[in-house]
């Protein structure tokens, strides 16, 4: 099975306090820790496990700039055989549809049976996988938390409300968006990354992809982000302050009053 996994380099929102620049044009990015989007990392692990079971190879692709190479290399260190960088100034500022169009061109330049994306990334839109599938006219399923390979098709689980699992059969080729928790992504150490440090990662721009840039970038976007902002804080929590002794004493009183201590 030839598998393409689409990954994105994002600020790690678990490790960072995200703050907005004055004026709201962007978030403060200077001191942020970046990493591979958490959902994408599960997708790469799943692709590697599938190939371990049934053969084939995994290609990890990203749209970005030189800085994005580190995440592709990290995912290659997990066991993906190939990397692919999609880089062009015309790609910057594309909306979800533009990103999906770039990925579609990349998929059509290869011979893939399966394309995986993370279920969502830093913007939480959860849209690129479904858009890509529709552009390719391949079937799609989102929030996938189980994949079993069968002949010409996959048996998949989708995570739905309440922690229930919706089981489907889906024909290959297809696009799946992967939910966290589907597997336990392997750890990648410095040594692993060193091993793949000298591997060549091909770079393709719009011309190499045979891509018309008309629908890309801010000019082609039908949905545009105007600004970032932090909503005015509501009353919020009563913040307990003082020494640890004072805070715990106050908290115990409150818990007693609310029936939190039995």
């Amino acid at each position: 099975m030839e598998i393409l996994v689409c990954v994105k380099r994002v600020p790690d929102s678990a490790e960072n306090e995200i703050e907005v620049k004055p004026g709201g044009a962007d978030i403060k990015r200077d001191d942020l820790v970046y990493s591979v989007n958490e959902w994408d990392n599960y997708a790469v692990e799943e692709a590697i496990q599938i190939v371990d079971r049934v053969g084939g190879s995994v290609t990890v692709a990203t749209i970005g700039n030189e800085e994005s190479e580190e995440v592709v290399r990290r995912e290659m260190a997990m066991g993906a055989a190939n990397g692919l960088m999609l880089v062009d100034p015309a790609f910057e500022g594309s909306d979800g549809r533009g990103i999906a169009a770039i990925l579609k061109a990349a998929v059509q330049k290869g011979k893939y049976d399966l394309v995986l994306t993370g279920a969502q990334a830093d913007d939480g839109a959860a849209q690129v996988g479904g858009m890509l599938a529709a552009m390719l006219d391949w079937p799609y399923a989102s929030l996938v938390n189980l994949i079993e390979v069968q002949e010409n098709k996959l048996r998949i689980g989708r995570e739905i409300e309440g922690g229930n699992q919706e089981v489907n059969e889906i024909m290959l080729p297809c696009v799946l968006s992967i939910q966290t928790g589907i597997n336990e992504p392997r750890y990648v150490g410095i040594r692993g990354i060193r091993k793949v440090a000298s591997l060549e990662i091909p770079v393709m721009n719009a011309e190499a992809l045979g891509l018309d840039t008309a629908g890309l970038g801010p000019a082609g976007a039908r949905v545009q982000r105007l600004d970032y902002f932090v909503p005015p804080a509501g009353a919020g929590a009563e913040m307990l302050e003082g020494s640890t002794d004072e805070i715990t004493a106050k908290l115990i009183d409150l818990l007693k009053a609310k029936g939190g201590l039995k």
């Binding site: 939480g124 229930n164 919706e166 913040m239």
Partner: protein
């Protein structure tokens, strides 16, 4: 003429989902003055009651009955909507696991704009909609401009557009089952497997000590266990703890886990994402302990402590034990 507005209705066991009326409320912000049409798809007479129920709120309800629509398979529903909706229309969806499955691909096939998980609408200027969404797990919000001229698919965050009580419309139900058209798909629904029941039922507990990513490592779980024991509470958790396999799925609070209704909820190292808070009902007294003073949990908690869980919680446990 303004584009027609449609709302796709989820339903189960012959009743419309709560999101049905929220979409109606959202439509009044997204397309003021439009007469939204509810779209109900399903098998057989089971959906007649749903259509009747909706006609009390929506001016018009389109009913599509077909055996192929018995389960809401997004790949089949997409075909249905492409077969029956007019070009350039606006379609509203709930941002549920079904909406996420359907929306993006449908927007491409309709050649329409797509905005997902809309939390608020700030206005409409001609064909441009100004909407609000959240990014970075709820840490910041954004304003978006969406060009709706070529049609739009908009998914709406649940709970953000409260339904109005004016269920007085005497809408008409139009049976359009004859128009469903070809509905084949390359994805087949097999079954729904119910979530496993764990060793404890967190949905029945009055006091929950809930741990999140801030607990840092599985080895630190005894910190929460000890506190729960001292309080007479039970340990629950947020999604990252389950993803990391530190606790069973049956302990997870949230839209993709359990819906709980405790009296007191201690959130330890939980950021307070929308998805997590969606599983917390019944207006509990919420205590949040988090080292990030900007964590969204402090917006919804009653009482907050900015501290490292691993330092603060053992102190609290000792004091509770001593106070007994």
């Amino acid at each position: 003429m303004a584009a027609q507005v449609f709302a796709f209705i989820l339903h189960k066991d012959g009743k419309a989902d709560d999101t049905a009326l929220e979409l109606l409320a959202a439509s009044q912000k997204i397309a003021p003055g439009a007469a939204p049409i509810a779209v109900v798809a399903g098998a057989g007479p089971a959906i007649d009651g749903v259509c009747q129920e909706l006609a009390a709120a929506y001016p018009e309800v389109w009913k599509f009955a077909s055996d192929a629509l018995a389960y809401p398979n997004a790949e089949i529903i997409r075909k249905l909507l492409l077969n029956v909706l007019p070009k350039g229309c606006t379609l509203l969806l709930p941002h549920t696991t079904f909406g996420m499955d359907l929306g993006p691909g449908l927007a491409i096939k309709m050649d329409a704009a797509y905005v997902s998980d809309v939390a608020a609408v700030e206005g409409r200027d001609g064909e441009t909609l100004k909407a609000v969404r959240q990014e970075f797990n709820g840490q910041v919000s954004t304003h978006l401009a969406c060009d709706m001229a070529g049609g739009a698919v908009i998914s709406v965050r649940s709970g953000c557009f409260p339904a109005s009580d004016s269920g007085s419309a005497s809408g008409k139900v139009v049976d359009k089952s004859a128009e469903v058209g070809e509905l084949s798909a390359r994805r087949r629904f097999v079954e729904v497997l119910q979530a496993e029941v764990g060793d404890v039922d967190i949905t029945k507990e009055d006091v929950l000590v809930s741990v999140g990513r801030g607990i840092g490592d599985k080895e630190n779980l005894p910190v929460a266990d000890e506190l729960a024991k001292a309080m007479g509470a039970v340990v629950s958790c947020s999604r990252p703890v389950v993803d990391a396999k530190w606790l069973e799925k049956s302990r997870q609070v949230g839209t993709s886990g359990k819906t709980v209704k405790p009296k007191v909820y201690l959130a330890l190292g939980i950021s307070g994402s929308f998805q997590h808070m969606g599983g917390l009902k019944g207006n509990p007294f919420i205590v949040a302990v988090n080292k990030n003073p900007k964590a969204p949990i402090f917006q919804v908690a009653n009482v907050g402590v900015v501290a490292d869980v691993l330092e603060f919680v053992p102190e609290l446990t000792d004091k509770i034990k001593a106070a007994k």
